[in-house]
Symmetry: C2
DNA sequence: CCAAAAGTGTTGGTCGTACACCCATGC
DNA sequence: GCATGGGTGTACGACCAACACTTTTGG
């Protein structure tokens, strides 16, 4: 990256929120900054947009460089343009929401993780709190740049969209074989509140099973034995 | 504006969708391009973002230069980054939704209208159709740049947000004195479909009157006599 | 070894709210 | 003719309760 940027132009970057659901909790990947500004602080992965690529292409390139993950869900979140948001100069950031199932991240060898670290995300009226794997907690204000604000915007958007889109399926480890309880757990993690299983089941079935987007798999295909009553396996069809 | 842009950098512009509701129909202001590219075509008002201003400031400045209107509602819509969206060079556009009540636009003298013209907006499964004051119709593809796509995105966003935000009040000519039927007309114009008056009334009253956001004005303040049963005047309180 | 407990998945009901659709009344 | 209000049926979420099937636990 640049240490000093030209004074007379605006630079365009993309910053990405790589989100996943792990053990019933929304998680996010951050990288620790090595260089100024904000050395040592945690930040969203980002990069400059080249003059010959669309922002989405820059996001793809950034993802490729960091993680051996392809075809992740990606959606533009918001564009942040405050004049002083980067002390190096004038940098406009287009933030993108990226969703990767946790199983795909967990399968990545340590060395190919692009220096990223996982943080639990909690956003309420008080503010944003992030919890690292080692239990270290930090608030949105302790991140580099305005990235705390960007993350808060992303979580709110996610919470809104999970209600009226099928974005929740993007968090499933295996869309071709999942339990409704897993999907419910995604909702609970994103919304950060319990969801009534009875209504959830009815809503999902009428919204998605009746329309053919998901289908119950044959009972012959048994799942690994867990505790309790065996759950019905579902399969996501099209998207 | 520039005719030729530097090759080695990305320019950032704002484009604004100035929307209003007039006679039960959603309307939008466009300006006719005088210079290449797309000379003679209709386009959204836009301008470059200066290196020392946030995008919102650029929107304010653009509005000030064109219309004698202050304090209009303004919200970021989406950022368009396709590499070839502007033949002059690499231009990223941050689109903003601006809402101005029709009465404020109608009160502007001809000479201070910034060369803008009003178009009725119709968006359905077929596509986007715009109808000028002279009855001339054009489709989204006949606009300059990717502005047809931008407008379609804006209308869709508006339709989504009118359901779960109080954005509809921004269209009211006089928020301190309006009829519920006027508000209903805003909904019908934006959604482009009839709204049941009975349910609308109940929904608005439970959502906004019970919470104090709107209040019925004293019956003593009479409205100008119109046809039919006199309507109750309402007042918007806070925002 | 067997029976009870506990955990998980699944189905059912009720209640209140909200909307679609229609109709009645006030002025 | 327009504004306002009521009524019925349907859909859905909150909340609660029951049942099905399994593993775990404890005597």
């Amino acid at each position: 990256m640049h240490d000093f940027l030209a004074q007379d132009q605006i630079f365009v970057t993309v910053d990405i929120l790589i989100m996943t659901v792990r053990e019933g909790r929304l998680n996010l990947l951050l990288s620790r900054r090595a260089n100024p500004p904000y050395p040592g602080r945690w930040a969203l992965p980002g990069r400059l947009v080249a003059t010959d690529e669309a922002a989405e292409a820059a996001v793809d390139r950034l993802l490729e460089e960091m993680l051996p993950v392809r075809g992740a869900f990606c959606e533009q979140l918001y564009t942040f343009t405050d004049v002083d948001r980067d002390p190096r100069g004038r940098v406009v950031s287009i933030a993108y929401l990226v969703i990767v199932p946790w199983a795909r991240l967990a399968a990545i060898p340590e060395g190919q993780f692009g220096g990223l670290r996982r943080f639990g995300v909690a956003l309420d009226a008080v503010g944003l709190r992030l919890t690292g794997e080692d239990g270290a907690a930090l608030t949105g204000g302790e991140l580099a740049f305005d990235h705390g604000r960007i993350i808060a915007t992303g979580v709110q958007r996610l919470r809104g969209k999970i209600e009226y889109t099928d974005i929740a399926f993007r968090f499933l480890n295996d869309p071709s074989a999942f339990y409704l309880s897993e999907l419910q757990s995604v909702f609970e993690a994103v919304l950060d509140k319990p969801v009534d299983g009875s209504n959830f089941r009815r809503a999902i079935q009428s919204r998605y099973e009746d329309t053919g987007l998901i289908a119950q798999r044959a009972p012959s295909e048994q799942a690994p034995k867990r505790r309790g009553r065996p759950a019905a396996l579902y399969r996501l069809n099209q998207p």
